[in-house]
């Protein structure tokens, strides 16, 4: 019962160069916790000290933005793909 977390290029350096990380299904938050246990360098890259997702990061379960679901409490099922993408913004 695993999910695949896909990392953007800029974060791969914190995951020993890996593009993907596997984690147990559960919620996005539990998957991220498992991933940061494995790759401590990712800690703080996705979630701030208060446990909120950084605003410059978008996280999708399949193609759904978790900000419009249950954020880090969004459930994941076996085979889901959790994609992390930099938010697209500018001035």
């Amino acid at each position: 019962m695993t999910v695949e977390i896909r990392l953007p290029t800029l974060l791969r350096v914190h995951a020993s160069g890996s593009a993907t990380v596997s984690a147990e299904s559960g919620t996005v938050g539990t998957a991220f916790a498992e991933m940061t246990d494995l790759h401590p360098g990712l800690s703080g890259q996705l979630v701030d000290s208060s446990g909120t997702l950084h605003r410059f990061v978008n996280v999708y379960v399949n193609d759904d933005d978790i900000r419009y679901l249950e954020s880090l409490d969004t459930p994941t099922a076996d085979g889901d793909v959790v994609s992390i993408l930099p938010a697209v913004a500018g001035g």
Partner: protein, 153 residues
């Protein structure tokens, strides 16, 4: 000199109309959207090198709802990414408007482009009576402009 490729960017007349119309409809705020098209290489997270052909223009909501900033709505981005995948395309760029300044990347634009260095960045200026659309590539702080053609397709 920048070392990156500058493809000829090919919009249809109706895609151009969609972009300009969206930019006006979002006034007084900046408007934004995504460009879909073929690309060489890349993967599901990393859009490859655009060929310059634009297959589709997707207008999106501006989460920043600001006259000075834009932030493409996260769900609109996810939906467009799915549409690109299903049509055999990639996200090859984005567009946004400058309501009172020229169609040239702002320092914020250059900084933000680090996240998607392969993209084409279309900027529409609404400063003058006639809207101006220019397309840029930005890599490592370098800015270069692409030529744009409008095709009657």
């Amino acid at each position: 000199m920048s070392g990156f490729a500058l493809p000829l960017v090919r919009f249809s007349v109706s895609q151009h109309r969609t972009i300009i119309g969206h930019c006006y409809s979002e006034l007084p705020n900046e408007a934004c959207g995504l460009l879909l098209g073929p690309a060489v290489g890349g993967d599901d997270l990393h859009d490859g090198e655009p060929t310059g052909a634009i297959a589709d223009v997707v207008t999106t909501r501006n989460e920043a709802a600001s006259a000075r900033l834009y932030a493409i709505h996260g769900q609109d981005y996810g939906t467009a990414r799915k549409a690109a995948r299903e049509s055999g395309n990639r996200i090859v760029g984005c567009f946004h408007s400058h309501t009172h300044t020229d169609a040239y990347p702002s320092p914020t634009d250059v900084e933000a482009a680090i996240h998607n260095p392969n993209w084409l960045y279309a900027i529409v200026s609404l400063r003058a009576e006639t809207p101006m659309l220019h397309v840029f590539r930005m890599q490592s702080g370098n800015i270069a402009e692409c030529q744009v053609v409008l095709e009657a397709r």
